[in-house]
């Protein structure tokens, strides 16, 4: 495994900043949506779209592309921002989020927007869909990989564990899940609402290879994605420790910022902070 290049890291950090700003602008313009879980996933999604995934934005249905499924579909803004910044559709269109007639539905809708790989939003379903894609890839002898981003609260859904069991059973080495471990869901901290802990032990017990990383550290993330590619006979799980609302001081770690948009004044403040942040 090669040490990630300093320059690459700097580029990714700059992209992450742009994507964070996009998210804030989109949500402020839409007047509703989910900032907390979008911001906690920024580095994960940026690493994927700007380094890890094998993609052709000009040919979104290219058969050999890697697939990314945002199982925690409420974080649609981070996905849309990454897709737009990566060239799947015009960045201007981000501001149509959640408006009538927009391709940027409140939750990702397959078939409407280039780059969206599945319809998600009903939590707990993305890993199953990813498994189906992974099984199809193997049948077709294609070497694409499938990545699925899960929420920590989402992992309370029984279907997640059905899929976890099945992916290990079918030795889906081409399937990697990333868990956005931000510790919060809507009603409060995950351990208070319904603890899914200990997460690493559970995934290992289900037959997965597991790694834990700092989900805001590109060096960590890239190393982990590299590791995942090397896991051949089992599905792999990257548990990413994150901060909900990351990058905006008044949103960080605040349950209340799970699902409401900032007004213009707070959005301006957020944009300033993100711009100034290192």
């Amino acid at each position: 495994m090669t040490e990630p290049q300093e320059e690459l890291i700097r580029e990714l950090e700059a992209k992450a900043k742009t994507i964070r700003k996009d998210i804030i602008k989109m949500l402020a313009e839409a007047g509703s949506g989910h900032p907390g879980g979008s911001l906690s996933s920024v580095e994960i999604v940026t690493a994927l779209y700007f380094n890890v995934l094998r993609l052709k934005p000009e040919e979104p249905l290219w058969q050999d592309r890697d697939r990314f499924i945002l199982s925690k579909g409420h974080a649609a803004p981070v996905l849309y921002a990454a897709l737009a910044e990566r060239g799947f559709f015009p960045v201007d269109e981000l501001l149509t989020l959640r408006k009538l007639g927009s391709r940027l539905q409140g939750h990702p809708a397959w078939g409407m927007l280039p780059g969206v790989e599945a319809s998600t939003g009903s939590l707990g379903q993305g890993l199953s869909i990813g498994l189906g894609m992974a099984l199809a890839g193997r049948l077709d002898q294609r070497d694409y990989r499938v990545y699925v981003l899960l929420g920590d609260g989402e992992s309370q859904e029984g279907q997640v564990w059905e899929a976890a069991m099945a992916a290990a059973h079918y030795r889906a080495g081409n399937l990697t899940a990333i868990l956005d471990y931000n510790g919060l869901q809507i009603d409060g901290p995950i351990e208070k609402v319904m603890s899914p802990l200990p997460l690493p032990d559970k995934w290992r017990a289900f037959g997965w290879e597991v790694r834990e990383v700092d989900g805001h550290n590109f060096r960590d993330l890239l190393t982990a994605f590299d590791w995942a590619k090397g896991v051949k006979d089992k599905p792999s799980m990257i548990i990413a420790h994150t901060i909900k609302g990351k990058g905006v001081s008044f949103m960080e770690g605040m349950v209340d910022w799970h699902g409401k948009a900032p007004n213009q004044k707070l959005a301006d403040q957020a944009l300033e902070e993100i711009g100034a942040g290192s």
Binding site: Q63, A109, W110, G111, E117, A118, S119, T120, G121, S122, G124, Q125, G126, L127, S128, I129, G130, L131, G132, M133, A134, L135, A136, G137, L139, D140, G158, Q159, E162, A163, M165, A166, H169, Y170
Partner: protein
């Protein structure tokens, strides 16, 4: 009418093997019921294209969605009650909403499941599937139609629900019968009343028509095997011809074929519609035939419903 009896699930198992040969992209999923749904036949022939997903129906539907997104034609099978009830949200959001090419072929629908009782007897699956945008819903009348309907489903694009049964049932359609997706088939003409029937009730409708023929009442029998998209034209045409309408299905009178026909006729040609079906109650244990009688889904029930419809038409006190 032929004496031969074959279950629709057996016909499914058989045709799947044939389709597996013709369509390399066909894959089959089951949830630990492959011996009952008969997908075990496919599994024997094409083990690499068969996925037993264990007792985990939600994951099965999601996995089917993913397979479809990657270009496969998945058939996902289990009992109707679990296929549609346990995994409803998965079917709704992961399959129907994006309009994916997944075929949900469910067996053991209705009360003819028999002794297993209410937990295993799906009386509401047509209703659940019919209300989903993008979904096609097919209820084959017998083994002959099952083979053709499953083939048609595999050949069309988009999500499809096919409802099959457990017991061996009479083969009523001849080999030259041609199932057409979205078309109701007029199996018998008649001027006094029409029965729109689906599934095993097509056979009962035939029997009822013969009984009434002896009494001088001429009854048309229409096999409405595609419940969605509904063949409105044929339904309105025969309602106009007879002005006495009966529906017959092994399903709740709420939300199934009876509702669908009443919806169309209410808008386009209001006439009396008498619904033969399960009257807002759960099933129970018993042999299939005992249950069909207990739940008024036998030939006599259809006869009585036809008489009532004819009676209401002619405004004679009943």
């Amino acid at each position: 009418m032929l004496e031969q009896k074959i279950s629709t699930r057996d016909a499914y198992g058989k045709v799947l093997v044939e389709l597996g040969r013709r369509y390399p992209e066909l894959v089959v999923l089951d949830a630990d019921l492959s011996k009952s749904t008969k997908t075990s036949e496919f599994a024997k022939h094409y083990p690499e294209r068969f996925f037993d997903m264990g007792i985990a129906e939600q994951n099965m539907m999601g996995t089917a969605a993913g397979l479809a997104l990657a270009g496969k034609i998945p058939c996902a099978s289990t009992f109707a009650v679990f296929a549609t009830g346990r995994a409803y949200d998965q079917i709704r959001n992961a399959i129907a909403y994006p309009g994916l090419n997944v075929k949900i072929v469910a067996s053991h629908a209705g009360i003819t499941v028999g002794e297993d009782g209410a937990t295993h007897q799906s009386i509401e699956d047509i209703s659940l599937m019919r209300t989903l945008p993008n979904m096609t819903v097919i209820v084959p009348a017998d083994a002959v139609e099952t083979a053709q309907a499953v083939t048609a489903a595999v050949e069309m694009r988009g999500p499809c629900y096919i409802r099959l049964g457990r017991p061996a049932v009479p083969v009523i359609l001849r080999d030259d019968y041609r199932f057409q997706l979205g078309k109701a088939a007029v199996l018998k003409e008649g001027k006094d009343a029409v029965v729109f029937a689906a599934g095993i009730m097509v056979h009962k409708a035939f029997e009822a028509a013969s009984v009434l023929e002896a009494e001088g009442v001429e009854v048309a029998v229409v096999n409405v095997s595609t419940i969605k998209p509904l063949d409105r034209e044929t339904i309105v045409k025969w309602a106009k011809k007879t002005r006495a309408v009966v529906t017959a299905e092994e399903h709740s009178i709420y939300g199934g074929l009876g509702s669908a026909v009443a919806e169309v006729l209410g808008e386009e040609y209001p006439v009396p519609v008498i619904r033969v079906g399960i009257k807002d109650r759960f099933g129970e244990s018993g042999s299939p035939d005992e249950l069909l009688t207990a739940f008024q889904l036998n030939t006599d029930s259809v006869v009585n419903a036809i008489k009532k419809a004819v009676c209401e038409k002619s405004r004679i006190a009943c």
